[in-house]
């Protein structure tokens, strides 16, 4: 096991890694910019090193500074956290070249999953289901009809040079294919000067469901079930739950096995998440994150497994401490991401936290670097706290979440706490009836009207 780990990150994830190291009895080095001198994880770490100015490029993305800090402090491993350099293959290479352990996946998986095209190819080769569609350009209406029949309706005809929704047409059924094909082509021609189009299945109202996998260096791969992350705004997840309110046990086992088999086929190492769109009982691979996820605590809550501890153990060459058969899912968990931003206008609200009070009692976990008197710096992302609640059932979990949100105080700035207070009482959240479009297309517009 490692003697000393340098945590190359900040905020809640730096604190999360610090706590895992402390639980393992590993010494910690916190690095920080001049804006984060007072950060909680800096205060709690065994050692800290100031590595540069507030701008991330000068500190948290400053590879020479991070490596030097690790060398000087005698760290033997670096945990990259989430974001910043966590999916940067160059960084992983440099860490490796300096004889330190990068607590993450093999570098070639960072590379392959970091490239959209390559990621889909690897995924397909590993048995992950992609959104079905034409293999390439559609040259005629007949080809379009054939491809649509193979793919299955509804289909989307898209400009090859397109973007931003232009040159995109949906055909709900065979009756609409002719009209959709010709108008997509002419729109594509007008917008991009190129009428090349291709076709794929149209997902009208999908859900975002991701599968957590974990693999050790001995070739053991286990999936830890799914997380439902459809409550999103601008592709940013706001509230996640595990298990998904809509998957059947059979679907859970099915997609879990597919994900674990794919990771095994790739020879994957460490923590990874396969993200899927889910609609009408079908899963479609979007991307794979080759790192810890922000929403990992809900998986920890229902499995009882400490993912970050497991990740560090794996990086140290130890085998998984459980097999697939050992993994059981108990109860229901929800995570609320609390951001320093206005609950409905989403304007950032950095500043000094005069009063922070965390909720308590059974089934409640708080991952937050806030403390009363802490000044939230304006330089970084707005995530300031994660509230994770676990209950016997989804209904029990929601009741506890409502209680925990009521107990929480972050003052005086507005935060997304109030958004979550609205969400947790919303009929569609309570029934689990939502998709990735729901927050932006239904919930927020209705809010504005009130």
């Amino acid at each position: 096991m490692f003697n000393k780990v340098l945590i190359a990150n900040r905020g809640d994830v730096a604190l999360r890694v610090l706590r895992a190291c402390q639980d393992l009895g590993i010494a910690t080095v916190a690095v920080h910019s001049t804006a984060d001198t007072d950060a909680m994880h800096v205060r709690l770490a065994d050692e800290s090193v100031c590595i540069g100015e507030p701008a991330s490029a000068k500190s948290y993305l400053n590879i020479p500074a991070l490596i030097t800090a690790a060398t000087i402090t005698g760290a033997d491993a670096i945990h990259p956290g989430v974001g910043f350099l966590s999916e940067n293959a160059d960084f992983a290479n440099v860490v490796d070249a300096h004889g330190l352990t990068f607590i993450g996946p093999h570098i070639d998986h960072i590379v392959s999953m970091g490239d959209k095209v390559e990621a889909k190819r690897t995924a397909a080769a590993s048995g992950l289901p992609l959104v079905p569609g034409s293999d390439g350009a559609i040259a005629s209406l007949d080809e379009a009809k054939m491809a649509a029949e193979q793919t299955g309706y509804p289909v989307l005809i898209k400009a090859a040079s397109g973007g931003g929704g232009r040159g995109m047409k949906v055909a709900e059924s065979a009756e609409q294919i002719s009209e959709a094909y010709s108008s997509a082509r002419s729109e594509a021609k007008a917008a991009f000067g190129d009428d090349t189009v291709y076709l794929e299945r149209y997902l009208g109202n999908p859900r975002h469901i991701e599968v957590q996998i974990v693999a050790d260096s001995q070739g053991n791969v286990v999936h830890l079930g799914e997380r439902e992350c459809s409550v999103q705004r601008r592709h940013q997840k706001l509230l996640e739950e595990a298990p998904s309110p809509v998957l059947t046990d059979k679907e859970r086992q099915h997609i879990g096995k597919i994900a674990a088999d794919a990771a095994r086929a790739m020879g994957y190492l460490g923590l990874g998440t396969m993200e899927f769109l889910y609609e009408n009982g079908e899963f479609f691979f979007i991307e794979m994150n080759t790192r810890l996820q922000v929403e990992h605590p809900i998986t920890e809550a229902i499995t009882g497994i400490d993912l970050v501890v497991e990740q560090i153990r794996i990086a140290a060459g130890m085998p998984l401490s459980f097999s697939q058969e050992d993994v059981t899912f108990k109860g229901h968990a929800i995570e609320c991401r609390i951001n320093a931003e206005h609950p409905t206008s989403f304007m950032p609200t950095p500043g000094t936290v005069e009063n922070f009070h965390a909720p308590g009692g059974p089934g409640v976990r708080v991952d937050s670097f806030l403390y009363s008197g802490y000044r939230i710096p304006p330089h970084y992302d707005s995530l300031i706290a994660k509230l994770i609640v676990h209950g016997d059932t989804r209904e029990h979990c929601l009741a506890r979440l409502r209680r925990a949100l009521d107990e929480t105080i972050i003052a005086p700035m507005p935060t997304s706490l109030d958004l979550h207070r609205l969400l947790v009482n919303d009929p569609q959240i309570r029934s689990g009836d939502y998709s990735i479009r729901w927050l932006e297309e239904t919930f927020l517009p209705n809010l504005d009207q009130e």
Partner: protein, 168 residues
């Protein structure tokens, strides 16, 4: 600063004018907070809804370290360095390290040091070297002057922003 009543009165006006102007700046630019500090004055302006009820403590804002106690038993290299630096009551104009690294006071082991306290130096003269990732980065004097204090030892690890040398 003069203490004569006349002058004080002027000073009040000056202060009020400064704050008015800064408030205007906030209005124009959408800033919600301004902190300004110079030799004469220190100002903090806020437009964020800072509305803590009186019983919502400010005590911990006054507390120097509201977070948790350091759990480390022994002081770490950096903590030692910081404590040492703090002890010497470093002047504000100290030359600080532009990077994390190891400070060397001489060009190579056994060689003569670049500077000694009391030396008169020229602008651009090398004061010490910071090694980071096997690269030697010379730290040079920004202006001519006299070396008042050398705040690091040979081979000492330094962080970004750590005071190295005082020249005046």
């Amino acid at each position: 600063m003069s203490k004569a009543p006349q002058k004080t009165s002027d000073a009040v006006d000056e202060r009020v004018r400064l704050i008015r102007e800064l408030a205007k700046v906030m209005e124009d630019t959408g800033l919600v907070e301004i902190d300004l500090e110079d030799d004469n004055v220190s100002v903090h302006l806020s437009k964020t809804g800072t509305m803590a009820p009186a019983q919502m403590m400010s005590p911990m804002m006054a507390a120097p370290a509201p977070a948790a106690p350091h759990s480390a038993a022994a002081p770490t290299p950096f903590e030692t360095a910081k404590a040492a630096a703090a002890d010497k009551s470093v002047p504000d104009n100290a030359i600080t390290s532009p990077m994390v690294g190891t400070a060397y006071l001489a060009p190579e082991p056994g060689a003569a040091v670049f500077i000694k306290e009391g030396d008169n130096i020229k602008a651009g003269q090398t004061l010490l070297i910071i090694e980071a990732m096997k690269v030697m980065n010379p730290i040079t004097a920004p202006s001519a002057g006299t070396v008042r204090q050398i705040l690091v030892d040979d081979g000492q690890p330094v962080e970004f922003g750590e005071p190295l040398v005082v020249i005046d």
